[in-house]
Every structure is written in structure tokens, then in C-alpha cells.
């Protein structure tokens, strides 16, 4: 909470962009829980409904608990045609979870994403903020093994 307080203090002083505030909150808290959003809403006098409306619109602002690594599998046309389904299948098998779920140890969350801008080297995935391109089965297995 102390980190959140200093963040709120910082944003209290000036006009600001709601998205950056929420993004920074996600960095501190990991996800936007009811408690967190209510705390922000009470301190910055922003309606809770508005905060939740914005948070639920963007998939990069999770409102439920996520794992340490969020794996986003690109579902754009270029990746789709070059085997993003296969990538997803391997990931599901490796992590033993389905799309939108988190592993039991709280390490990985699997999500799909619309185009992440790597159409030149498909299929691509994004783990937290890092992008992995030109994937095949072995490459994926290696990446997951390293992170585990």
C-alpha cells in the first residue's frame, strides 16, 4: 500500500492520464483488484465504475490475479496463418492450462492477443514485455524451460 500511496500522491498534484496511472498500478500490484481500485477511487475522487470500465476494456490491465509471466500468443492474421494455433497447443500442453488461466504455482498466465506487430517474423508471442519471434516447438519448450 505504501508504494500505491506515493503513486497516488504523485498523481494528485497534476492533471493526468488515467491509463498511465492504471498501468503503473499494475506494475506495483500485479493486477487491479476491487480493493486497489476502490482505494484509488476514494483517494483521487474518480468514480469506481469509470476505473473498472477502463480497466475491463484493455486486456493489458488485468482485473483478476495473474501469474508472474503473462504469455500473450499473437492471434493476428500473419501469425495465425503461420501456425499460432500450433504454438498455443504446445504452450497449453507444456503449462497444463487453458487460455485465460493461470498455472497453480502462479507463474504463468496464458492469453491470446490481437496483433502484436511482428507480422514480418511469425509466429510470435509476448512474455511480459519481451517478444519472441519465428517460433517452433523446440524454441517454445526452451523458453518455457528457462523461465521455469
Amino acid at each position: 500500500m505504501r508504494k500505491l500511496d506515493s503513486l497516488i500522491l504523485k498523481y494528485k498534484k497534476r492533471e493526468f492520464n488515467l491509463l498511465t496511472l492504471l498501468e503503473e498500478t499494475v506494475k506495483i500490484k500485479g493486477y487491479l483488484s476491487f480493493k486497489t481500485l476502490n482505494y484509488i477511487s476514494e483517494n483521487l475522487k474518480i468514480p469506481l465504475a469509470k476505473l473498472y470500465g477502463v480497466a475491463s476494456f484493455y486486456s493489458f490491465l488485468p482485473t483478476v490475479k495473474t501469474g508472474k509471466y503473462i504469455i500473450r500468443v499473437c492471434n493476428g492474421p500473419s501469425c495465425y496463418l503461420n501456425g499460432s494455433r500450433e504454438v498455443l497447443k504446445v504452450l497449453k500442453k507444456e503449462l497444463k492450462i487453458d487460455l485465460g488461466q493461470t498455472t497453480k504455482d502462479g507463474k504463468f498466465t496464458l492469453e491470446s492477443a490481437s496483433c502484436i506487430g511482428c507480422c514480418d517474423s511469425p509466429p510470435a508471442i509476448m512474455i511480459n514485455n519481451k517478444i519472441y519471434k519465428n517460433l517452433d516447438k523446440n524454441k517454445i519448450r526452451n523458453i518455457i524451460k528457462k523461465l521455469k
Partner: protein, 565 residues
Amino acid sequence: MQIKINGKEVKAKEGETILEVARRNKIYIPTLCYHPDLKPEGRCRVCLVEVNKKLVTSCNTKVENKMEIFTNTKRVLEARRLNLELLLSNVSYIRKDFEVAKLAKELGIRKIRFKKYVDISKGRAPIEKDNHKCILCGRCVQVCQNIQKINNIDFVNRGIFTEANTPFNIPLKYSPCTFCGQCALYCPENALRERAFNEKLVKYVENMDLVRDNKFFIVQTAPSIRASLGEIFGMEPGTLVTGKMVSALRKIGFDKVFDTDFGADLTIIEEANEFVERIKKNKNLPLITSCCPSWIKFAEDTYPFLLKNISTCKSPQQMFGAIAKTYYAKKIGVKPENLIVVSVMPCISKKFEAEKLEMKSAGCPDVDVVLTTRELGRIIEKKKIKFAKLKDDEFDLPFGLSSGGGAIFGVTGGVTESALRVAYELLTGEKLKNVDFRQVRGFEGIRDANIKIKNKNLRVAIVHGLGNIREMIESGRWKKYHFIEMMACPGGCIGGGGQPRPTTKEIRKKRMDALYRQDKNKEIRVASHNPAIKKIYKEFLGKPLGEKSKKLLHTKYKKRRPKYF
């Protein structure tokens, strides 16, 4: 033809379906869309059976020679259950007593697993939302954010999953919603609407001539609905339909038709006395009115420091209910449980108020059923009563008699005006010559006026619309006044959440004029001159703010934090 069902040899005729053969041999297969009168189509896929390791619908698959059929393998049972669960994702809850509920029980489904939508109206809030009707026009969101400024709903999620909803799907009952119902009033699709209050009793009301059960039905009609009920039947906004409304209610089957204006007169006498007392003691000023249940909930939720300023008087509806269940029930010799008090209100929040636990002066709820103007209109339409052609009728005595002060309760500024009429006479001891206080009339969100009574300068303020109320309180201006009238809906009750759609600013103004017209035509215009009120104080209540009236006509407020916060 010989076939095998679950390993048992069974005879069958050519052209029969699997279901028919099974039923004849008393082997049970559940069905949903199948109906013996209709052609089987195999839509619901609940009647699945396994043939040759394939799942087929038994209702429209014909038997073949030496067919081997299994009706209760694990695969079949799981598939049936999943299919029904998927079908149920379309509904928000499983209604009891219906075919589907029975089937769900048989297949072991206790709750709906696949929720397309989460029902924010669960927890029996007075407002319910039907997501299947919502077209996402966003009017409710706008009203809640810009006019009422409660900010309880917004658009959530994205794309095809977008819906107007509360944050984190909090049920309305546990959210800061005040049930003012403006969202429902603006809804073009009837997706947001009032919840039927007490289904069993509402059914009674609809079929009163058929079912009676020793019950004695009385109805009270709010001051503002006589100016708006006609609109449902195509009349001009602002037509007063008092007489027609009374005869329609009689036709529905009510034993007695009374007027909430009487309750309003009672409220104003208690409130004016309280006001005068507080002025004399100079304590807990300003006095803030308490007739609006949405405003009360708003204060209890958000501004608990104001609770000591709010008048302890119940609202007219509850005062009427309390008097009916004690005084009137005794007078006519009916047990309070058998006296059913139905009230017709322009308001959704009144449903919430009538359900409050403390509103039980005779051991049972003071008001049993609350109908909104729209609901009454629907009942009249259902009964095929030709409203426009009805003859005018009069309210029953004793609670049909009311003053002009009660009549204008339904508009913003009306409570102030009638309180001033009574307070003037209480403070000066003289009779008021000119009863019109034109300074307090109008349509601005926040109005104030200085009223001179016997060398004393009274500062009064009138606020309507929850957004304006919020502004008034948060700016701190409320401390300057002696008397503040708060109404949650723009325009007061004439623009209430249960009023006919559409309601615009012009229509509100027309309804307002109608009520002032009614006040002008009344013989008695000050509440304390009402002979029925005088009589009830003489016979039953004693004096205003006396022991009995404190017990029956006053209530307490408590800080109420929404459960989720």
C-alpha cells in the same frame, strides 16, 4: 423387428422412433423440446442416446433392425447435462416449478455454470436488468453519471462482451445505487425496470375479484401519479386524471381507494412542528426533508454526518401505511395481516423503503405492495379497462380527504411550500391570508428564498436531482439554511423513476403545472385545516410529536455502508 435397449431385447415396429419404443417399454429418456403434439425436431439435444458409439437424438431417429441402444452410459449422461447447461446459459436464473427446473434437477444441475451475463439485480434489488434486451444505447450510463452523479454504472468489457454494468458485477443491492430509477425511466427497451415487489400479492392485485381469502384491499395513490397516469393511455401530458384513476382502481377491485395526499398532510404537520421546535431550540438546523427514500439512502451511504439534520418523519407512504394498519384496521375490525395496503407510487425506491425492517408498526409490513405508475398502467391495460372513457369518481373517506398542501408534494418545492403554510400559522398564531409562496416554485436545480415570518428571516433551499444534492452538500452551502428540501429525481416525484416513459423536461413541467392547478382548485389549502387530520389527532394520535405519533410516524436512520465496500 428386434432391437436391444441397454442390453434388453425389445420388439419394435417399423417407422417408430427410439423414444417411442423406449417410452412404451418404460425406459426413461429425458426430453425438453419434444412434445407429443408437435413434430420432433431434435433441437435441444437433451434426449441423446448412444447408438454404435455415436450420440443421436432419440426423438427423431427411427429404429432399425438389430439396433443396439444405450440410454444411460456415462457419455450419454454427461452429454445431456452439458447440453442443458449450455442452453441454460441464456437465462439468468432457473425458475422453479417449470419444466426446465425439473429437468435440471434430474440431470444434476444445481446452478448455472456458463454465465453469459451476470445478473446485477440479484439480491432482490428493486431495479432489475434484462441484459437480453439491452441495446447499449448508454442512456442509463449517462443519467447515472451526468445527471444523478452517482456513477454506479458504466460500460464494462469490450467488443461483443460490452455491457452497462456495475464495477466488478456488484449486485445493485450492495452497491451505492440509490434506486432512484432514473436509468429505468430513460431506458428505451425496458431492459432496466422495476422488480415486481411481491409476486404473490401482485397476482392477488391483478385477480382480486377471483381470489379474496378474507383479505381487505385498500390502495393509496401518490400525489404525482394523477398528473401522469393518463399519458400511458395516450392523453396529453399534464392532464389530471384523479377521477378516472379512482374509478379504474375500483374496477380492478379494491375495497377502498384512498389518497396518499392524506399521508402527505400528516407528514407536513409532523414535519412543520419539528421544524418550529428546532427553530425555537436553535438545534440541528437546517432541517432536511425526509420524504424521498432515494435521498435517505444516498445520505446513509455517502453523507452520514447529515443524518442528525434529516427530519425523523416517515415518508407519506409509510405514515399512511402505519395509520391504516393500526387506526383504520381497528376501526373496521380487520386484522392488520389481512388488511393489504397497496400503494401506487411514481417511484422505484419506495419499494426499497417499504421493505425496510423497521417499517412494521403492527407486526407486519406497513405497506404490502408497491406498484409504480407504469405497473398500474399495465394492470389497467391487462384488465381491458377503457381508461379514457371512465367516469370520474371520488376518493373514499376518511383518508380521501386532503388539502392542497398535500397535493403539491409531488413537485419540487411543494414540500417546502406546504411546510411553510403550516409553520407560518404555528409561529405566528394567525391565519395565513395568501397561501402561495411563489418564491419557492420553479425548475432550477438549486433554488433558495428568504421568507419573512414574524420578524424572523427563514432561509429555505430546494434541491432536486441527486447531482445537485451532491453539489449542494460538497460545496458546504447547506449550512447557511434553516430548511432544505431534497428530492432525488429531477423535478421531484413528477419525474420519478416509475413514471410513464418518455419523461422529458417539458413533460415534467406540464405535470408540475397540473399539480399546482389542482392545489389552486382545492377548498382546503393548509394541511392543518384538513378536518380528517384534525379528527385523527383528536381520536387517535393525540398531538403532533406526541408519544403515539413519535412511535408510529417517526423513524431512525443509520449509517449504511454498501456490503462490498
